[in-house]
Amino acid sequence: MNAIEVRDLVKTYGSGETAVYALREIDLTVNAGELMLLMGASGSGKTTLVSIMGCILSASSGSCKIYGKETVGLSQKELPAIRLENIGFIFQAFNLFPALTARENVEIALDLKGVRGSQAKRRAAELLERVGLGGKLGSYPADLSGGQKQRVAIARALAGEPRIILADEPTAALDSESGIVVMDLLKELAHEKDRAVIAVTHDNRILHYADRTVHIEDGRIGREEAAMPVLPVSTTGSIGARQ
């Protein structure tokens, strides 16, 4: 089954003279098990598209199916459960709770899923282990590097065992080194358990991670590229430079 199926999706912000046509009849299918990158100029509608796919923004018209279930037109009461069930979010600015340790940040997501107490503690530790932060369970976000924070956020996103992970500019706030670690992780996550990972990016350095890259131009789907071959070793030390 397709993870996400978008048909004739339209999003207009506002109305009348001030209306902004952010998405104009988007058709897009995201397969389970693929890492898809969304690229495009600033203001082209990338964030709007992932927001609708993530069920945190309602479309003006069209269809957006999550594993076959239509989400356009659902009420504000129904959407939280769909997000909880299916979607993990990763943000450019991490959005961690500063008052909580890495482990507690993950525990909140488990709490939302109804996993509590010692079970939640154990599960949170496993997830942090999974993202390579087994030694940072008790650290507060302020004491972690950007890359570590993003990995905590990934562990948190994984807590709900989502079938879809949506990331908006996940590496934009990171140095190359950390960006590599994060993208490696996202790619692994896409390939295990047939998860779909969609990452919005401006970052050309991470293009080769994509199973597919989709370009958005002015609210429409533009070019699509299949996976790029791994680039040869470069001397610039960019993210692309991997053996």
Binding site: I56, P80, F91, L96, L100, I108, L112, R156, G160
Partner: protein, 376 residues
């Protein structure tokens, strides 16, 4: 969920300190004002409420006992004839007495003349001497809190003058506060008659103890029907009249209640403002929770937990401070009474105050658009 709330709360120490200080002060102010109110009630009704009598016979239309008008003793015999009356005694409470201090100045007193054998209407909280000592002609008992200041008396055996007659202090009470600040002077009914220059057959009140098991209301209305020109009241009815007259009639009660209400409002505003500010500061995290699938209810519980927890901490501190203030006030004539009922009421009030204060923050949380999480 609770742990997020608690951790958020303690993460911002300065904000927590400001919130707690605000609520603590609000609780102390409210407790003190309401404690003064209870002190007023106690001081204005004590000589009735502590009388151990079941019923009072008072002249018609009396709004407070200090205003009693004398009537003929013959009513006493009618009362005693009732089979449900276990005891009935003459009684006097009067503001019509002046004491002359050793330095020669005058001081109005509240003269209480009671039947020494009746066990009703006498002094309470006796610290020196005994009711039996009042058998001596001219013997009086006064309260320690007023003795030195108002009457120039410091020890047993001293002599003062009441309405130009000799009065010997044979004992002390402690804590018989009088709303008017005219100190209570307890004496035998006979002495009181002579201090006031009454005839032997004149009395101000009758105090009655009902036979055990008698229906007070039935007895009250039967006596009321038999006696003319007087009213028969239960002790609690007279306590109510006393309280209404002194505490509300003088405006003193309204003043402290208004002050208490203001203190509560200030508390609500302070908590509302800090909880709101805390919510606004965490808006991105709340948005993230919403994006992750948290319902509005989940966010409300976080916010409510934070404010109720602040309330609980502040309550413990506030009530402890209020109890200290109350204890200190007991050394003076203005009692601030913080009893368990007031403490319980303040507890409920604090929790209500914190929940009310959360409304603004909760509305803010409701309005958070989860789509904000992807915006810069």
């Amino acid at each position: 969920m609770a742990s997020i709330a608690i951790k958020n709360l303690f993460h911002e120490k300065v904000r927590l300190a400001v919130t707690l200080t605000g609520i603590v002060f609000s609780i102390i102010l409210t407790a003190v004002q309401l404690g003064i109110f209870l002190g007023f009630i106690e001081a204005s009704t004590g000589i009735v409420g502590q009388s151990k009598a079941d019923l009072w016979v008072v002249s018609r239309g009396v709004t407070h006992v200090e205003q009693g008008v004398e009537f003929n003793e013959s009513k006493l015999y009618k009362v005693l004839a009732d089979p449900d009356v276990a005891a009935a005694k003459n009684h006097i409470v009067s503001l019509g007495a002046q004491a002359k201090k050793p330095d020669g100045s005058d001081e109005g007193v509240t003269l209480v003349g009671f039947d020494l054998d009746g066990g009703m209407g006498g002094p309470w909280n006796i610290t020196q001497g005994s009711v039996a000592d009042l058998e001596i002609p001219d013997a009086v008992m006064v309260d320690e809190l007023y003795a030195e200041n108002k009457l120039g008396v410091t020890k047993v055996g001293q002599v003062i003058e009441i309405n130009k007659r000799r009065a010997r202090v044979v004992g002390f009470t402690r804590g018989v506060r009088i709303f008017t600040s005219q100190p209570a002077v307890f004496t035998s009914f006979k002495n009181a008659q002579s201090f006031l220059g009454l005839n032997e057959d004149q009395s101000f009140f009758l105090v009655i103890r009902a036979r055990a098991g008698a229906n007070l209301e039935v007895l009250r209305s039967r006596l009321a029907g038999e006696l003319t020109d007087v009213e028969v009241l239960t002790t609690s009815q007279l306590v109510y009249r006393q309280g209404m007259y002194w505490v509300f009639g003088t405006g003193a009660g309204i003043t402290v209640i208004v002050a208490a209400v203001l203190a509560i409002i200030v508390g609500v505003v302070i908590v509302a403002q800090t909880i709101y500010a805390a919510t606004v500061d965490h808006i991105r995290e709340y948005g993230t929770l919403k994006a992750m699938g948290a319902t509005n209810g989940y966010l409300y519980r976080i916010i409510l937990t934070q404010s109720v927890l602040s309330g609980l901490i502040a309550y413990v501190v506030g009530i402890a401070a209020s109890l200290v203030i109350s204890r200190v006030s007991m050394e003076g004539t203005l009692a601030i009474i913080v009893n368990w009922q007031l403490a319980a009421a303040l507890f409920v009030l604090t929790i209500l105050m914190c929940c009310t204060a959360s409304i603004v923050a909760i509305r803010k949380a409701t309005s958070i658009d989860p789509a904000m999480v992807f915006r810069g």
